[in-house]
Symmetry: C2
Subunit: 440 residues, 2 copies
């Protein structure tokens, strides 16, 4: 790097998600030089990814170019690149191509990815939902499943099963299951001639005893009831033992699955382990009360990559935690750079909420528990407020209003594959397509 | 197929572009059963594809699900599938997987694709713009070129050349070149810290003596002037002799090219040749004055796949021609099915227009020749009117209004590749990525 950039403390932030973006934006208020590094050029509003997967929103509605998000902060540089390791002693980040980036303060915020619990071969058969690419791939599979059923029916006169199996009933699994049921019942119902999309079955499998297990029992029960009202078959205490093309196994039981989706587990980004400090069993870095790592107070680990305990439990891997951690790390760096004493981090839980379909949900805000339309309204409001980028907020709101009034779905495109899959072997093609992406 | 569907004349339309979609929608007014077959599930508004390539619009803004477009026509079935051949004697369309679809009337409207003039190896190095996938790939390459330049500058302190080479100065080439120049000058200019996007060079290469050769000479000259005002370097009478990763050759001259785009030629869909009737040298089917083929009056070939001569010249491959041909074929089928005499087809040329950047263009409407803002306004109005789907019209208008007022670009996302390209060998990666897509 050029020497003349080095006068002010140099802060390197890795990851442009909720944690990293907030860290970069807030630390830039200080007299520092910031470099924000990400593999992608866009920040993704992950809580709304399922709406892209369900063809309700376009990728650009929920993703904002990182450069635009930091445009007004002239002391923030953005670098699109892949960090692969560190030299903590020399304070260097190593990039994939052998370049290094020096720092005075480092914030690592590379988040989490799907965990298939040592069954990596399931990844191609049951994609998870973490990125825009995941969302468009899931969209492609869901829409294609209806097309295949219509085709079988038109050409062969057969009504083949049309099951959507969602594995894992955390917030993402619940959102996906609810939204699939709704588009089948309402959005697609007038689109087809030979099949009735309403005969689609949505099956939500959960290994534990209840859906949304991080919520209280009354809200879990309410969520399950709301899901069932939408037509989702909820099966708790049900462990998936194998996933094959077109089939999910629960012990001896075979469940036909036109599409299988994975929402059952996450693991930390491998960059956590590259720090060479203690991690938990999912690979998250165990951080102290300053979100630091042993021996290196200039290094912060935040967001889904951090294992931070408060009041005897690890804080959850959700956007508000990442945002607060990013803001904390920023303030802490500015404090220390100006010689002030630091303070420990504390997460302030403003509540949590999950949405079920287009007008249902649950919310838990302190002692207040909401269900149904009220919870959904609160969810909508809060997500619009948090959406990054005014253009997005404006367009997403319009898009939602339009859909709500018209029951139209805005982005019902199957893209990404020039050729059609072999119709009688579509599971293999879905597989090879995902394989290509993963290798890409 | 089931026998009970066969009572009314069965019309099969292959292709959901401007020609096929209009044929299906209009013929459905008659007492017929329609099957619309396409490889993709969406109609693409091709005249606006370049706006997706330039990150101004999202794919869903300019593409509409075919099922939605025909939703109200209960006698139209949609089948997503790949036609590979015909049995004209038995009146059957053959699908890829061995299925066949019977017809009483057939409309073939599968359009055109890029022609690299026997240099198919250039396809990966210089993508053309025909589909949503092409547009997002071009978007990825353009945005990535700026990111690579920024990275080189940040890490190595080097200012490497940032040239965008567009081959072919027909409407698509002119639109791409003008729009790239504009985003470099205005949209991206405040996004980067280490490079100045305004130093990007846009080079438009045309083999013939003038840009937009299908227009009159005065309009060509005006278009060239408007392009040059935007900073585009226009080189006419310039034949590309070779395309290599990062380089375009014009004879002995090497032109560095961060991104190379192809807008130089088209050839007909291979389904034209599969009809086994005479074709022209670009593979278009030579049709008679009823848009029919020899010996088979029940078969119509329309749109870019048809070579139709009127007043001594072939009509051009543009949307209005395809739309009028689709409407004609529909009426002709209804006429014949009810025993009426047919009439020959005649193209009514309402004029043509091309856009240059966000407020310039040319238009030729009979004897009226327009240039600059007036031409652009006419273009905008007409394209909004023709946009299929009310949701799209509404959102595209808003998106444009927003961009026009804010100079923001809405869909500036780099997607489609999980991993970053190797930075020092990005041309190879772009290549292999395009290769994967083509093989997909």
């Amino acid at each position: 790097m050029e020497a003349n950039r080095q006068q002010r403390p140099r802060v390197v932030v890795i990851g442009g998600g909720f944690g990293g973006l907030n860290a970069a934006l807030h630390v830039a208020k200080g007299d520092v030089q910031v470099l924000l590094l990400d593999r992608k050029n866009h920040h993704t509003f992950q809580p709304l990814l399922y709406q892209v997967a369900l063809a309700a929103l376009s990728p650009a509605d929920i993703a904002a170019p990182i450069r635009r998000a930091v445009q007004r902060k002239k002391n923030v540089e953005v670098l699109i690149g892949n960090a692969v390791g560190f030299d903590l002693e020399r304070r260097l980040v190593r990039l994939e191509e052998g370049d290094t980036v020096p720092y005075d303060y480092l914030v690592v915020a590379t988040g989490a990815t799907h965990s298939y619990f040592a069954h990596e071969e399931w990844a191609q058969l049951a994609p998870g939902l973490k990125s825009v690419e995941d969302a468009t791939e899931i969209r492609r599979r869901i829409l294609l499943a209806f097309e295949l059923a219509e085709r079988e029916s038109l050409l062969e006169g057969q009504q083949c099963p049309l099951n959507f199996v969602v594995i894992g009933a955390g917030p993402t699994g619940v959102e996906l299951a609810g939204a699939i049921a709704e588009i089948a019942m309402h959005v697609l119902s007038t689109d087809f001639r030979a099949i009735d999309p309403r005969r689609a079955r949505v099956i939500l499998l959960e290994g534990g005893p209840r859906v949304l297990p991080t919520y209280t029992e009354d809200l879990s029960a309410s969520a399950q009831k709301q899901l069932e009202k939408l037509g989702v078959e909820v099966r708790t205490n049900t462990r998936v033992t194998n996933v094959e093309p077109g089939v999910v196994y629960v012990g001896e039981q075979r469940i036909d699955a036109a599409v299988t989706l994975w929402a059952a587990g996450v693991k930390a980004s491998p960059l956590g382990a590259a720090l060479g400090v203690p991690t938990d069993r999912t690979g998250r870095v165990i951080v102290d009360d300053r979100l630091g790592v042993p021996g290196h107070p200039e290094v912060f680990v935040i967001g889904d990559l951090a294992h931070f305990e408060q009041d005897g439990a690890a804080v959850p891997g959700v956007a508000p935690v990442a945002i607060q951690m990013g803001q904390y790390a920023a303030k802490e760096i500015v404090r220390r750079a100006s010689g002030q004493a630091g303070k420990p981090f504390r997460y302030w839980d403003k509540g949590s909420m999950a949405t079920i379909g287009r007008s249902k949900g649950i919310a838990q805000i302190g002692k207040i528990h909401l269900s149904g339309f009220l919870a959904w309204s609160a969810w909508l409001l809060i997500h619009l407020i948090y959406l990054i980028g005014y253009r997005n907020r404006f367009f997403v709101l319009l898009n939602w209003a339009w859909q709500y009034l018209s029951w139209q779905s805005g982005a019902r495109l199957i893209t990404g594959s020039d050729q059609l899959p072999g119709w009688h072997s579509h599971h293999e093609e879905a597989e090879s397509s995902a394989g290509k992406r993963a290798a890409g």
